[in-house]
Symmetry: T
Subunit: 151 residues, 12 copies
């Protein structure tokens, strides 16, 4: 039987990881995080589709696509986290469990980074653990998908 598919979607500027403000975001590249997610997914028997875009509209498109083909969404909206009602509405518009992740702890940063629209459409939030935030989210997602599975 096919493994459940999880979309891991990354928003603006996350493609710069590793050279962007390493004091905040660390030295890992996005490719390294993707590799970490693939390995974690393999262990959890989840298929991972890992993507990044600087375009809000493309992220919305991908969430819709996930609604048709995936079992769950892990979203790091990047800067759009704080401003995008469209991402929130996209998450609410598809019938899938979603988890918001952040590399940094947004509660320790500028005031405007403490507010999240998409989190209002997610099951939960994991923030502050660097690349491990993604790995933890995959564990959580495996639990969520298992809990929904017919028994």
């Amino acid at each position: 039987m096919a493994q459940p598919l999880v979309f891991i979607l990354n928003g603006p500027n996350l493609n710069l990881l590793g050279r962007r403000e390493p004091a905040i975001y660390g030295h890992d590249t996005l490719a390294a995080i993707e590799e970490l997610c693939r390995r974690s997914g393999a262990t959890l028997e989840l298929e991972v589709d890992f993507r990044q875009s600087n375009h809000e509209g493309e992220l919305v498109d991908w969430i819709h696509e996930a609604g048709d083909s995936a079992a769950g969404i892990i979203l790091n909206g990047g800067a759009l986290t704080h401003t995008s009602v469209a991402l929130l509405d996209a998450l609410k518009g598809v019938d899938l469990p979603a988890i918001e992740v952040h590399l940094s702890n947004i509660h320790r940063r500028e005031e405007f980074r403490r507010h999240s629209y998409p989190a209002q459409g997610a099951v939960g939030v994991i923030a502050g653990f660097g690349p491990q935030s993604y790995a933890l989210a995959l564990v959580a997602m495996a639990n969520l998908i298992a809990a929904q599975a017919p028994r």
Copy 2:
């Protein structure tokens, strides 16, 4: 003589209509609304160009395109209604009557959904009547275009 052309532009997530939060947005699909608009347009002798995009930039492009080829714009900005100064500036940048429509009554929803930027560049707003909001907007647009026509 060619019929006046009206662009009907739909923002993020409206392509999900019919399965997205039907308690709020109803069971009609966007295709059904397009069909309703075409029929209404035919009755009113208006040509209708009906589009949807999840990309703010594409909506801005289309408003500019309308400025070159259309007689009016009906805009349901979706989630961008509450955050997009760019849509407001686009409406103000073209010399066309514009009408903002919403399926739901934004005054009965979350506080952040009660504010609209594009409405500040529109002639008027029609909200809360489901797909009929579009049909009413077409009637209003026919009046606006007629009022501008040389007599």
Copy 3:
């Protein structure tokens, strides 16, 4: 069979229409709007009871009266739109579809005019089309009443 009765209620200062700030409110008098509504109502097979008062209490009384005898309410609360919780509670207290109308587009005016209490108790809002706002509201009301009718 009697036609459904629609109350069209107008709030403070709307009796001045035609001479009050015509740059904002236009040159039509309230009598002209009433005449427009009667003609539209006749076409839509709706009976229209058109009233104006400068007294919040009288408007509340009339909404209650509509609850006993009418099939729907169209309300232009005028300045009370922005301050009257009583009008909101009146609309919520009667079991009728209500539509809020405005001659001007309140999103283009002073900040304090962008907030509406009664709209929170209405099905929808139509604003910015001058006297046509009323005609559009009657079309919308006819649809709402038809949708409620036994079939």
Copy 4:
């Protein structure tokens, strides 16, 4: 000797009680509450003058009338509670103990219903007990009047 007279004044929409939003306001009619107040008043040896108006001005007039003829005021300002400085000034303008009552617990409702102007001119507030709020207020008023009585 004549019994002390207590005005019990009810604001907008309270005449709808029993059919208005019963999930919030309960199934008792205002007439039933008046009857309850009369019985409670009889027990407490208080004469009760029970009135309702949808007009802020009439409520102000009645508070002034109370100032000339009554020993205390019990006020349920309804929606005017949240907006009427005039009711506050009226209470402060007459030399009588006043009690604000509410059927519902305003702390559990919309933010704008948590603020009261008239309460700033009252001895105290009783809210959330349905019609019993009135009965409790009459007990409290009897105490207040007794405390003022010459001994």
Copy 5:
């Protein structure tokens, strides 16, 4: 030739003057102020129509009436000063010079009393001089009317 007519309109609770919070409003009754205005008006060759109402709607009606028959309006809106957009719209709706007066200096009172809607539709404001506020307003009104007179 008839003397210019000035409406002097007083809002809620001003009928209580002389016994209402004398520490703030002084010991003069409204009748005494009316008498002062009549004497000042006689000196200035202005006819005075002095009225008081606790009803916002009646004050709006009177401003409209002034628009038909008077040369100017002096308004002490009382508590409505701080909440009534309807009074502002009424002043803006008639083509007459208007002056807002207050007995007390609203800048020394509660925060919510420092804001005035009607003042935004008036030529000017005179506040804090007790009954003399009215007399000063009549002098100012005589000047305003004279400045408008054909020469």
Copy 6:
């Protein structure tokens, strides 16, 4: 049969009653209020457990204890009223009717004292009647318990 038990819980500084700011809180001691509550309880056939603590945590503990052994809670949270989400959550966490009481009328005091967290978890609020606030709350509680009783 045992009488229903009502916990009457008093928050920080209420043990100072009688000597603490008597202009606001009156001259009665907390012991006098306890005595009043016992007498009122006896009349109403309610057993009263009257306690005071300056510790938020102890008040939370007692609310939990009430959840196990009592039929209702009367809470004067004192200063914690304005800041304690924990008291609100405790009230919502136990399945008992609760009433918030205050000696003074919090609407006439500093702005920060007008907000109550626990009131959002209570049936109703009684404030401003000095020790009588407690006696009134006991009457209200007797009604609430009677309304729940099997018949």
Copy 7:
């Protein structure tokens, strides 16, 4: 006997009157206003000391000087009206009646011009009558001084 002395103090930029934004401030120069004040003062048997400074500190000095030698202060603080706590404290620090005047109606201008610190230390405010604001203030001041005079 010497006539009472009134300081008339003018703040920043008022020396530009007549050429500064005449649409708001009119075409009269400050010299013309001084002349008007002298004539009005002569009629009212008040000696007038008319000054202008662009320096907050100098205005504070002059208010102190008035405290030693004058019977009253008329202050047009100009732009300092909206920001200077020092002027407020100066007025409160001297034992003299003070009147705040403005040429324009500050309620019709930018939001930040509607707030006045010095007005909180004044008897009253007169605003919106152009140079006549000063003349009216002198009349009001004559009344205030007369009311204080030994009889």
Copy 8:
């Protein structure tokens, strides 16, 4: 060698879990969560000290105690999350990695629950996964402790 010790501290009302608002907090008891943590800890080779208190001061004491004897802190501050600067300062005062956990997703609840003081002193936050939030936090903590260990 002894296993690293992790304090898992639970704030007010968490002892009610299982019967408190199960729609929000689920049906698991705190004892079940403790058992889950012990099992997870055993797998991760972490010793777990699991405590609950309704007293802010006791939680502060325990954080200090952790500073002396533990390798990390997992904190569910309950209602104190939103109000306690003391918990934040305690976390910042000890030299240990800390993780904030919540059973529910605070971004989907009342506005006042979206703000966290202790999170500003934590490495990261995990919220919304019910008891799994704790298990995920233990995994994250194991990583944090391992990263600190001498190699």
Copy 9:
């Protein structure tokens, strides 16, 4: 004759002094500050009772105890400074001079640390001088007590 007794009360986390964020709070331990206070007290002929608690309730208890046995209170509320209305009410509830002290200058720290509730119940505030803040407060307290002493 016994020396006047001064309670010096320290709030949450002050027991960590010396190792907690030394860049802000310095390297002195609380024991060193107590020793400094004892020496200063001896010089000033004041008896010092120096205590620390992480519990708001215990601090309230101690303020009450001071009301019975001490001549003055010096309070460093720590984090409770910014949130505790209970400490404010406790200070206002006892008839003693109180002084608020802080080691750091709260005006240079996070916005939420600039507000103090207890300071509203204190004679004065001394902040920013490290342990010397306490010594200065003892000098000030000696003056306050001397000024109250019978002469």
Copy 10:
């Protein structure tokens, strides 16, 4: 040696220049501004890559591209200036000097246009000089690049 390359990036609606609200933005087209920039660049020995997009994501992509190939960025974010955290993060993510330019003086426009996110990631801002804003920015950029050059 190759001339340093400067990206000049223009956001939404700037392609409409010359016909969009000329009272605010002037009559120059974007092509004219590009030509001006090319001529200025030639003089300053800077190569200019001049682009415009209505898509936030494309602007982010271009900023990243600049990070790989250019020596500096001049950004007119248009409407995105006021809402885009993504542009700010992009500027902070690349190691290049950036300058924000505006044709109009944003301090003289609507309140929401006075705030800029990208400016927080720029060296400086030049606003209000029409097309000259770009020319001035190029001069400033030449200085910044020269200051970075090895000497």
Copy 11:
């Protein structure tokens, strides 16, 4: 023919340049900036009158003086930028182009430094380029003056 005269006015504390917070303001002295301006002015055929004052009133005086004798004003208001309505009114009161300059980028500093009153009366703003901000402003001013010159 005489060269156009430009006043370059510097506000409080700018005389400290070179030793005041060099991390923010750089190491150049105000004398060095004056010298830079003179040289730039010479190149641009502008006469420069360079002044500094710590007195708001003196700056206002100088702006007035410029109105009589200069062709333009370059203003670095220093700390007064954020608080002085008087400087704004002075700029609006004279009929000259004005440019606001800042050494630092005010968008990267404390919130209260992001707001500018004088900028609302200026043609444009240049901020963040250190002393080059002045040189750029002189170039911009030369353009503005040339554009006004008769041709």
Copy 12:
């Protein structure tokens, strides 16, 4: 060896001390405070230069002068405390320890008096002890200077 010199600078209206609002500021004159400071300074072996000005600019000048010749600054900014960024920048611009003093406890006064700009540039604040605030500040200053002295 010369004694260290301390500037004690007093802002607007402090010259009125003794007759200005004695209920708030006490009956001591500024001369008496100066005398107190001289005596305290003598004891502490500090030379005192005590000045007062109503001019913000003069206070800024004096702070600069202190930067050249003094060892410390004690500042009572009076009303400028709440509004003057210039005083803050002046303190930050000179390399000297500064202490802010107030006669009254600003936490017990109007909201706008609780905020201080200069305190953000000071070592600490002493407020509420009347003239003793100055004496305490001199003690604190002696400590600060001693701590800086070479040993």
